[in-house]
Symmetry: C2
Subunit: 463 residues, 2 copies
């Protein structure tokens, strides 16, 4: 019996109401990538604002500083001297194509056993709604919260809008002041297996353009007399990574890499993970990556370098004997702390200058960058989160990292200098961005209870 049992009991009594509200929220097709849905996107924001108000929060829509979709801002700050939690989520959803593959109307929430099928069910309406309902349950039960809370739920996450970034940077010192950030937009490790995501990779994405002769040439007449841009690009791409050891060969690339800690390697090794099944599922003859690391370590904790696209010359059927004037490629490097995207772009450029063969000119353009994130796995907020998850699910969360990048998390970490707790309630098979996206009801209710426990746990800490 924990200190939160009063609220837990209320949540269990009222969970059907919460599900009913979630269904209403899910029915609003808030697809942010399609301008046609602009009114519905705003409608979802208004629904959430009103829901927050009914819970006893002060809430408002904040128009995007960049002219995009509004974000919903709610707060309850009646616990002076206590810590403040900033919850982040998003109310916009992905498009529904291919619509034929849905078993139901994508915007009619439908129960299949314990799963609720709907676009946005897990990503991120359902998951971030756990924050709102946990706060609502505590306020309904006790008339007050044990800590201060602020919620920002944005409407441009799926369309790459920059409103949230501008908002966070502008309001960080004042409105967004807090002790920790909580985000529920990721997954548990498996059903019943809670996970805390504490690391994400950064990114340096560049484009290479190789220019040879000033026009396409006949490879018979001119072959052998000038450097071929495609041959040259092959040399450059080949120089990036050792094909046997998987090591990136850019000088200085690993200089700032924080080595995996022993506890991480040990903890990950204990996670259920079948490399052979993983290999079979991907259909490759063998797995391949940096020598000295296993697949988990490679994907979660080691930097990588992948060619994402390349092109040049004749790509059609049959034979065309062209010696093309130009060739190009896109290359991305996934970074880990403490690599710096700008510095890596510079090292990449220097490397390319060094290895470019004679007779061609190469241009390197920086397309995109993201800072890697590693959240401190100790400290009061993290301890409260771990305890809440353990109390709810009966076991401590596994501490995991991921290979992807979530730029807003780096922004929070950078601007607020507070821990960002990625407390995911989804499951690995939730089909986010795909047809028949779902959210498990036990994850939904368990998530609400976990957040309620977390609020109480954090209240025990100094503000």
């Amino acid at each position: 019996m924990t200190a939160t049992q009063d609220v837990i009991d209320r949540i269990d009594r009222e969970k059907d109401d919460y599900l009913g509200e979630l269904k209403q929220y899910l029915r609003i097709p808030s697809i942010s990538t399609d301008p046609q849905y602009k009114p519905q996107v705003r409608g979802a924001a208004e629904y959430l604002r009103d829901n927050m108000r009914q819970a006893g929060l002060s809430a408002e829509l904040v128009d995007s500083p960049t002219g995009g979709n509004p974000l919903v801002y709610g707060e309850w700050t009646g616990a002076p001297g206590k810590p403040t939690v900033l919850f982040y989520g998003h109310y916009d959803v992905q498009p529904v194509d291919p619509v034929d593959e849905w078993r139901h109307d994508p915007f009619e929430p439908t129960l299949e056993g314990d799963d609720i099928i709907c676009r946005g069910a897990t990503d991120d309406k359902g998951q971030s709604f756990t924050h709102v309902k946990a706060v609502a349950a505590v306020l309904a039960e006790r008339g007050a919260l044990p800590v201060n809370v602020k919620l920002i739920v944005e409407g441009e996450e799926e369309c790459g809008g920059e409103g949230i970034e501008a908002f966070v940077r502008a309001d960080a010192g004042d409105r967004l002041a807090c002790d920790c950030v909580v985000i529920s937009d990721t997954s548990m490790y498996a059903p019943g297996e809670p996970a805390m995501l504490y690391g994400l990779k950064g990114l340096t994405y560049v484009e290479l353009r190789v220019q040879g002769p000033n026009r396409d040439l006949h490879s018979g007449t001119f072959g052998g007399s000038v450097q071929n841009p495609l041959n040259a690009l092959g040399h450059i791409l080949s120089s990036l990574q050792d094909p046997e050891t998987g090591r990136v060969l850019i000088a200085g690339f690993y200089d700032r890499v924080r080595p995996l800690e022993d506890w991480e390697r040990k903890a990950w090794a204990e996670l259920p993970f079948d490399e052979d099944e993983y290999r079979r599922e991907l259909g490759v003859p063998e797995l391949f990556g940096e020598r000295g690391y296993n697949t988990r370590e490679r994907t979660w904790g080691r930097p990588t370098c992948d060619v994402n696209g390349m092109w040049g010359g004749y790509q059609g059927e049959g034979a065309k004997t062209v010696l093309p004037a130009k060739a190009g490629a896109k290359v991305s490097m996934r970074l880990v702390p403490d690599q710096d995207p700008k510095e890596i772009a510079d090292l990449f450029r220097q490397h390319v200058e060094r290895v470019t063969p004679p007779g061609v000119a190469v241009e390197v353009r920086e397309v995109h960058g993201a800072v890697p994130t590693l959240i401190e796995t100790e400290g009061p907020a993290m301890e409260a989160a771990v305890a809440a998850m353990r109390d709810e699910w009966g076991k401590a969360p596994v501490m995991i990292r991921e290979g992807g990048s979530i730029p807003i998390i780096a922004t929070f970490a950078d601007v607020l200098s507070k821990p960002v707790l990625m407390m995911g309630f989804g499951l690995p098979d939730d089909r986010l961005h795909s047809p028949n996206e779902k959210f498990n009801l036990q994850c939904f209710y368990g998530g609400i209870r976990t957040v309620a426990r977390f609020l109480d746990g954090l209240a025990g800490q100094a503000g």
Copy 2:
């Protein structure tokens, strides 16, 4: 004063008539790549047949064994015991696009100074018409030829038709029996500088397909765990050629290469050729090719390996972090005697198997092959040709090779086992395949006179 002076005088008297006939022939738009022009293609063949008959040859249209355009076959075999010359040419022409760039109607032969502007003027109506008019002049002057002649003029050269190949292979032992083949479908080295082309490169053209995972993957989630097909393709392409020395690195690639002979290197070095001007015209920072050879030697006499196309992953604007399932490339190797296209394809395949990095499957498909040709530069026919050119132009022809491939020449050399004399009368700036194609009248008349001299010269040899 040569033995041919009687005929030379006649040619000079009648040259305006020859020009008039050439214009009539050029006016027929015999574009073989466009089925709409089928009647005109046949019309050109009929004109040529009739022109041969008027000259005193027996001539007929031979329908293509592969259902394509007819070829014109003419002969005069009234010199038993004397050598037989087989002339080859083509009466079909390239399309005229971009038509806006022509200064005149592409099929209205128009004189600009000594140049006659028309599609097909040099390639190959004008050049191959020199054979017909030389024979006509000798017959008109003497009532007989000093040697036997056979002419085949085909109508599918520009559209890659295989009729000629089938015809030559079927009729080689009988109708096409000869002592040498003469082709006029190439260029002089410069105005007033005759050239004899005695070498052409062969070709092995392959396509590479690299297969990695069974679907495109997210490079964040999966990057570092599987071999990336684009990275792998980079390694494979890079392994083909040393980027510093320009040497092809496929094991055994050079084993059958016939070294350049001292006389070739010396003769080519004496040809006017400005490497710096060549470099500037191509717009490259520096020329690049196999170390130890100059540009002429590289393009004419050394085998090469060029990537002609490659593709894979994301080629659009901006960033897409895909780890693609597959990648591909087209690679061609230009061969010199005595390299064998089949053997080189095998060596290429073995090389790729050896260098393919772990974790991907690679398929090599043979797309196309052509045998390299090197004509013996000694022997009676070659001597007669060289003498005819020297007598006509006042200097011996320069002996040159080219980097391209002309498959029919390899076929003649292979099937007939007789020397193939590439006696070109075009000029390097004739704009073949381009708007405002031209043929210089001095080349036309000089070509007719050269062929007449050659017939007399050859008659002095044993048949």
